[in-house]
């Protein structure tokens, strides 16, 4: 509406001045800059794929199904880091989503408005804390707690239960998949909470008020009115958090333990694509097969995160359309 009104106004404006045409020059400049954004992404994709080409062509499809990462024999495969990336992000979300939902529920339905705005702002601010801080916190605070308390206790309790024993096996280093998941969870909680709070608040108040008017409890309003209404936005926010968790480097590198390993144990050291790149890159000479394998992993990470982002965008934009229609 904005654009069309303005364009018609421009079209109607008579071209009195015929001097140096600043308009078309500016327009060209602006369009070219816009296109440069596309070029940057295109270049990133091209460089990742061409950089990883040597690995893709050397190993063929087996690159995607082998779990070996052996610089000595020059044999590399993507499965372990891809597994680590997905598993640690999944654990992170498993922790973050209930916490974020509970906090968002509290902020929008339970807290007094003054307290809610202060805590809501604090949570939003914490979404801006650099990820390396979460990594340091994980390394210096969480890892000792995991090693001295959580892991021995878990092994003591579940070590002899048939299925659970596999989950808790491994030496109590404190680092590992679960620690990485915890740090990722803590890291994405603020942003997921912020998105959830925003979509909850964006629901027209009439719906909420009518439900209360019918005698529904706060939980029933949340469960049967707010959640169904804002489902897409909530899922979009979660997927956004997942994208952030999967691409995270610093927070994970400190606590994952770096081992190319796939297994059921939550306490076993593992690696993720990002942590492997950060740790192995300095030891990969230019033009080597190892560097190419890292680039190939980068291409895979990019594919995973773009698919995730695309999903979140589709979900969030549908939510926006809905909000626009109903309000």
């Amino acid at each position: 509406m904005d654009g069309s009104a303005e364009q018609s106004a421009v079209a109607a404006a008579p071209q009195i001045t015929r001097r140096w045409d600043g308009d078309s020059l500016f327009r060209t400049l602006v369009v070219l800059t816009g296109i440069s954004v596309l070029v940057v992404l295109g270049a990133i994709i091209t460089i990742m794929v061409t950089g990883g080409w040597k690995a893709f062509s050397t190993f063929g499809p087996s690159f995607f199904v082998t779990a070996v990462w052996n610089p000595v024999t020059q044999h590399f495969g993507a499965v372990a880091p891809v597994f680590g990336t997905l598993a640690s992000s999944f654990l992170g979300l498993l922790i973050a989503v209930p916490l974020a939902f509970g906090t968002a529920f509290w902020l929008t339905a339970l807290a007094p408005p003054a307290v809610s705005s202060v805590i809501g702002m604090a949570v939003q601010l914490l979404a801006a804390v650099p990820s390396i801080i979460f990594g340091m916190w994980g390394f210096f605070v969480l890892v000792p707690v995991m090693a001295h308390y959580v892991q021995p206790t878990a092994r003591h309790m579940f070590g002899h239960v048939p299925v659970l024993s596999a989950l808790v096996s491994g030496a109590p280093f404190g680092t590992g998949l679960l620690t990485a998941g915890l740090v990722l969870g803590v890291m994405v909680v603020p942003s997921i909470t912020a998105v959830m709070r925003d979509v909850f608040v964006s629901m027209p108040a009439v719906l909420r008020e009518s439900a209360y008017g019918l005698g529904a409890t706060r939980w029933e309003v949340m469960r049967r009115v707010v959640l169904p209404w804002s489902r897409q936005g909530v899922v979009g926010g979660i997927v956004l958090g997942m994208g952030r968790a999967m691409g995270e480097t610093m927070a994970v590198t400190f606590v994952i333990g770096d081992s190319n390993h796939i297994g059921w144990s939550l306490f076993a050291p593992a690696n993720t694509i990002a942590s492997l790149i950060a740790l192995e890159f300095p030891e990969s000479p230019a033009g080597s097969l190892k560097l190419s394998s890292l680039m190939a992993l980068g291409a895979i990470l990019m594919a995973i995160s773009f698919v995730t982002l695309w999903c979140s965008r589709v979900l969030l934009s549908r939510g926006e359309v809905k909000a626009g229609k109903r309000s």
Partner: protein, 294 residues
Amino acid sequence: MKAHVVSQSGARLPRSDFQAMRRRLTDKLATCMSWLAMLIVVSVLGSILWTLLKNGLPGLTLTLFTHSMGAPGAGGGLANAIVGSLLQTGLSILLGAPAGLLTGIFLAEYGAESKLARSVRFVSDMLLSAPSILIGLFIYMLLVEPFGHFSGFAGAAALAVMAMPIIVRTTEDMLRLVPVSMREAGIALGAPRWRVILFICVRAARGGIMTGVLLAIARVTGETAPLLFTSLGNSEWSLDMRRPMASLPVAIYQYAGSAYQDWMQQAWTGALVVTLGVLIINIVVRVGIRGGRT
């Protein structure tokens, strides 16, 4: 009367005392869980800030800002890392802000809903949340490998790629808030479109656009991953951006993984400095937005 209303709305409301009690209990339970979740989140995040303050404050001395990084035990500071971070962040904003601003103008003023604009918007959003380490790898292949050495310029370029999408986003959003009547007034006065955009629209939205730039600075300042393979880090004082350059987050990363007490102390203090900087920028932005609205 009540039963009638209920059946029409289709919601499940009480038929008996038992059900009423169950509903009340469910609500109580949900309320408790919600309080619990909030308390966990607040205490964990509080614990992070507290750890940061507890470990970082003792090392917050003048030496930190006046001395360059040194060998363990030599009493070095982080001056070169702080200056390196400022230089790289500054240059990245100099590169990223004009590009972001122009792209934002394109999206809001020229592109609107055209196919090109929609794909630019989509791609910019993708870049906004692309894994930062991949941007580091990308710039490495583009600006480090061909030249054969790491450089501050490469670091700044990587940060610029991260800063630009944020500025694109906020610029577009803010320009869309400028009323059409202001544009029409400008056009009616016979101003060419580019002048209307730059001197009326951008000027009217400059507060919001500044917000975007500040947020970009805050985001870029704390980034470690894109700098690992681009500016690498440097333990000596250097203002030459053609050479490897120190930066605060990379210095923190190197020091935190070390085994020396004083390096670890400096890592914490550096982390405190970065976090305070980022938080202060964010608070300024928020207070600024609130002040602008009233």
